[in-house]
């Protein structure tokens, strides 16, 4: 039996093509995933992300516990509502999951982790809590809506409590406004402006209806994937997993090695890996021939070695095929991707293709 989010009736009413997404019945698209993609790049779109797992960490040692659990350092969080992207590593330095940690105060944090990995994440989070004065609680009563696009914030401002307007307008990226059970965070997975809004089911259902009336386009998992890939954002399970190091996944920026005395899980392994020399890197690819890049395609870098596409798609914004790929560290400029037994040339670029509606790959041409 698949699980349904609070917005399930809204999806059906919007003619969604529903699919089983790791046990959740979720919208793939509402007619055309390319049109949904363009809505987010050019105006505003909304995604039901209620399937994501919310875990609250509360207790006198909440901060010390998360400094042990997470590879990024929650000590960076000083303002209530501030958010931090982090990996959660295993003892071998592999990535169990990536997540966002929200700070309320030193005794209360909230983690938002992937739904696909919920069944391994929650036991791990509970297991590591032993010895710390913390309580771990899953919060499955909340629904969550991501509203993204150049006009997304403005449209959200129009439909929310007008008393919140000044505070919302002043929010900086990765900062959240909290009002009772509602959290409005300037985060997202598209490379556009916008919010991710957590709240009680009835509140989020009403928000969906109000945003629909403001012509915010419902967007499915299909558009979510092409948007995040254009933005160069990793997808857990594709671009990194328990067998890959964050240092080979373009996630080094999320690992807080300072202060040196903070002993987070996986630290020793990553330090050894750094000392021995990191072998691979996660890069962007732009296909120069015809075809579409897909995950697991082989990449050949002449004179250097071989690698693999981890995520690939057709980019609706750039109208060509793009990918993330893990390649040997010395790979430069050009490679070839094996597509149906043919080697098709591709250009190696920084893994960020589109930001705020603009192409990031033109300047390198």
């Amino acid at each position: 039996m698949t699980k349904r989010t609070a917005l399930h009736p809204q999806h059906l009413a919007a003619n969604a093509k529903m699919v089983d997404f790791f046990g959740w019945e979720m919208p793939l698209h509402y007619g055309s995933q390319i049109e949904e993609h363009h809505a987010v790049r050019q105006d505003a779109g909304m995604f039901d992300v209620s399937h994501m797992t919310i875990v609250d960490v509360e207790g006198s040692e909440a901060k010390a516990y998360l400094q042990h659990l997470l590879a990024n350092n929650v000590d960076k969080l000083k303002l209530p509502g501030k958010a931090l992207y982090s990996c959660m590593l295993n003892d071998e330095g592999g990535v169990i999951d990536d997540l966002i940690a929200y700070y309320f105060d030193d005794t209360h944090y909230r983690l938002v982790v992937n739904s696909a990995t919920r069944d391994k994440d929650v036991p791990w989070i509970e297991k590591q809590a032993k010895g710390f004065d913390v309580a771990i609680h899953e919060r499955d009563q909340y629904a969550m809506l991501a509203v993204q696009g150049p006009n997304a914030r403005d449209k959200v401002h129009q439909v929310l409590d007008q008393n919140w307007l000044d505070l919302l307008t002043a929010l900086k990226p990765f900062q959240a406004f909290c009002a009772g059970e509602t959290i409005v965070a300037r985060t997202g997975y598209t490379g556009e402006q916008g919010y991710e809004i957590m709240g009680e089911a009835a509140f989020v259902q009403q928000l969906w209806q109000d945003l629909l009336a403001k012509d915010v386009a419902p967007c499915g998992l299909g558009a979510r994937d092409t948007l995040r890939l254009e933005a160069g954002m990793n997808l857990y399970g594709n671009d990194m997993d328990e067998t890959t190091s964050p240092l080979e996944s373009n996630l080094t920026w999320t690992i807080a090695f300072e202060p040196v005395e903070r002993n987070f899980i996986g630290r020793n392994v990553l330090e050894k890996e750094k000392a021995a020399g990191i072998k691979n890197k996660l890069v962007g690819l732009v296909l120069e021939g015809k075809g579409v890049l897909r995950s697991h395609q082989k990449v050949v870098v002449e004179g250097v070695g071989e690698g693999e596409v981890t995520s690939g798609t057709f980019s609706p914004s750039l109208k060509l095929s793009i990918a993330l790929a893990r390649l040997p560290m010395d790979s430069q400029e050009q490679c070839c991707v094996e597509i149906r037994n043919k080697l098709i040339p591709a250009r190696i670029v920084d893994p960020c293709f589109v930001r705020q509606g603009k192409s990031m790959i033109e300047k390198e041409k």
């Binding site: 698209h29 055309s32 995933q33 390319i34 299909g222 092409t226 015809k290 075809g291 579409v292 897909r294 798609t313 057709f314 609706p316 095929s321 149906r340």
Partner: protein, 129 residues
């Protein structure tokens, strides 16, 4: 319910065939394009001999790549070059401007081995259940 024109013949792998004399026009059905979603690339086959059931081109949507199979024995004599620049025509007009290629068939009678519209409708319904 997707449109299934009664004058066409159909394969298990969701190609349609329109036979006129000894020339068969081949495309993918409306049901198939709906399953695949927004088309972004069509790899047209090379001209020349093909056997029924062999790969003859690829259609790729944002979501996935899907092989096209030759419905009949014969020779591919023309491909729809317009799809190189406008693959989305396969979505918008699968039975018209979205055709993939034309082949000269060895034996026009072979076409009766393919499904008619009623049989294909039943298959689509079974697949959807």
């Amino acid at each position: 319910m997707a449109e299934i024109p009664s004058e066409l013949r159909y394969t298990d792998s969701h190609e349609w065939v329109k036979l006129e004399g000894e020339i068969a026009t081949v495309g993918i059905t409306e049901h198939a394009q709906g399953l695949l979603g927004d088309m972004v690339f069509v790899e047209l086959p090379e001209l020349g001999n093909v056997h029924a059931g062999t790969e003859s081109g690829v259609v790729e949507s944002v979501k996935a790549a899907s092989d096209i199979y030759a419905p009949l024995n014969g020779t591919i004599v023309e491909v729809n070059e317009a799809l190189n620049d406008a693959p989305e025509t396969v979505n918008t007009d699968p039975y018209g401007e979205g055709w993939l290629y034309k082949m000269k068939v060895e034996n026009p009678d072979e076409v009766t081995s393919l499904m008619d519209a009623d049989a294909y409708s039943e298959k689509v319904e079974e697949d959807t259940d």
